[in-house]
Amino acid sequence: MAGAAGRGGCHTIRGAQIKELLQSKRNVLFDCDGVIWNGETAVTGAPEVVRLLKQQGKRVFFVTNNCTRPRENYVQKFSRLGFTDVAEEDIFSSAYCSAAYLRDVARVQGKVFVIGCYGVQKELLNAGVTMVEEDDDGPDVSIYDCPLDPDVKAVLVGYDEKFNFLKLAKACCYLRNSECLFLATDPDPWHPLRGGRVTPGSGSLTAALETASNRKATVIGKPGRFMFECIAGQFNLDPEQSLMVGDRLETDVLFGTNCGLSTMLTLTGVSTLKEAEEYKGSDSPEKKDSVPDYVVESITDFLEALEE
């Protein structure tokens, strides 16, 4: 069944079907929030699933739009939650990939004006990308008259709990120069927190800046392809041998489809089976591409397939 399933079939699978699917894949890419953990709690059995996959010779990667932590902090979180063998190289966050893009693809010679949290800034620092100094603003600086740094070649926007009008105004000024790059870490309009609550995401800040500048940002994170290109560039992945497991249809599943991967929706996060089935019946190509090949209740279900 698993091998014969067509693209976007939305088939719920367990046990032997999962086993058959995993046998045909060399690489498994997991989203994090809502897939392997929720907040500070690992999804039941998730650490064991990762361990078993690696033991059975699979390559396991983590692909997350969450830009709030640098990779070194993600390693600590993995460890804290009981994942014993996850290394920095296995982790691909939108912050890490944005820095990689600026350094390796855009090859920015100059500074980047960053609207972003610690996670974003640390990754830029790690990548050797120069940022405009923050907090150089004296008492005379206001939204009506802010001095600009002439070396700014790019604007990067991501989740920023210190976002304010002044940052928006400054970024808008920099973006008046059409040569100045406009990047966003990810498109997520909101991020889920514990208990079904939400908080504004990078996407909402990007929307403000796109409206102000009348320009569209180049978005690094899922469902865009760049994060996969980042991984494939370092590890030589064959899309046909790869499975993407996520919890958000329009982010994770669409990403998988865009990159030619098999896709699996797990129901421990944002999207529901009902939504997936609605998308299946939709006329919109984007919605159709957001329908997963497979569905599992939770990645706990992998244990049965892996432990035999």
Binding site: G39, T68, I143, Y144, D160, E161, K162, F163, N164, F165, L168, A169, C172, P189, W190, L193, R194, G195, R197, V198, T199, P200, G201, G203, S204, L205, A207, A208, L209, E210, T211, A212, N214
Partner: protein
């Protein structure tokens, strides 16, 4: 109805147009003033219109001033104007919340003190004005204390806009019963000397994106601004002239409400913009083509003083 031809208003046609209307509605920024300076000739035009028996109204999307503050500014710049002739979005949003939303409760306000004052005048209490400093770690964001009496979120121009405010608005808007209103969608707020800062439209877009909800928008081109004026003064749309500098707000409002429309070139839109709309086959874009245009409203002065 013939497609608006955007005829240049001059000579005898000025007098003919003015004779055909009894009320003139003016946008402010880019029409009668720029920043803190009157457009040369504008005060004389307004004052002459009134002397000649026309009614004059001021209709602006700018939410940073109360009607009284606008009246003060108008007076300072030499315009004879009364407070009740001014319709800014701070005032009109308060009217909207009261009469259309029928709000019975408080408003979480992302906006100015002027907006808060206009709401209070309407008997509506606003919370949230001013800086809102972040505190705590990410998990606390969803647990910010919410005032149970808040029944609506209103977004206007706010230089204290911040992630904390965006978050608070989102938390309130997670309740589908909570109303969601925006003053306007202008992407830039014009300042003097051709400077501009990001406008309310940007802040509103951030909130709409986070909440995945669309706001009810009060300002031009929404017809509510005209309805607000018409509810207080008896107006016959056929005898009204809308004078503005933006095709997508002023002229669009005029067209959709059945008013005559006059574009002045002292502000945002250009003749090239008009021609682009004219050439397009799109009916909505045709609504943005004015009946007439002038380089500046000062051009109608000779017809008034003759």
């Amino acid at each position: 109805m013939a497609v608006s031809k955007c005829a240049r208003l001059s000579g005898a046609s000025i007098g003919d147009l003015l004779d055909s209307v009894d009320s003139v509605l003016f946008d402010c920024d880019g029409v009668i003033w720029r920043g803190d300076q009157a457009i040369p000739g504008a005060p004389e035009v307004i004052n002459s219109l009134k002397k000649g028996g026309k009614r004059v109204f001021f209709v602006t999307n700018n939410s940073t001033k109360t009607r009284k503050m606008y009246a003060d500014k108008l007076g300072k710049l030499g315009f004879n104007a009364r407070e009740d002739e001014v319709f800014g979005t701070a005032y009109c949003s308060a009217v909207y919340l009261k009469t259309v939303c029928k709000l019975d409760g408080k408003v979480y306000l992302i906006g100015s003190n002027a907006m808060r004052q206009e709401l209070e005048t309407m008997g509506i209490q606003a919370v949230g004005v001013g800086p809102d400093h972040i505190s705590g770690v990410q998990n606390d964001w969803a647990n910010v204390p919410l005032d149970p009496e808040v029944k609506a979120v209103l977004v206007g121009f706010d230089e204290h806009f911040s992630y904390a405010k965006l978050n608070r608005a989102l938390q309130y808007l997670c309740n589908p019963e909570c109303q969601f209103v925006g003053t306007n969608t202008d992407t830039r707020l014009p300042l003097e000397g051709d400077k501009a800062v990001p406008g309310t439209g940007c802040l509103l877009k951030a909130v709409e994106t986070a909440a995945q909800r669309q706001a009810q928008v009060v300002g031009k081109p929404s017809s509510f601004m005209f309805k607000c004026v018409a509810s207080q003064f008896v107006l016959d749309p056929n005898k009204c002239l809308m004078v503005g500098d933006r095709l997508d707000t002023d002229i669009m409002l005029g067209s959709s409400c059945g008013l005559k429309t006059l574009l002045t070139l002292t502000g945002v839109s250009t003749i090239a913009d008009v021609e682009a709309h004219q050439r397009s086959g799109c009916p909505i874009r045709q609504e943005m083509v004015p009946d007439y245009y002038v380089d500046s409203i000062a051009e109608i002065l000779p017809a008034l003083q003759g």
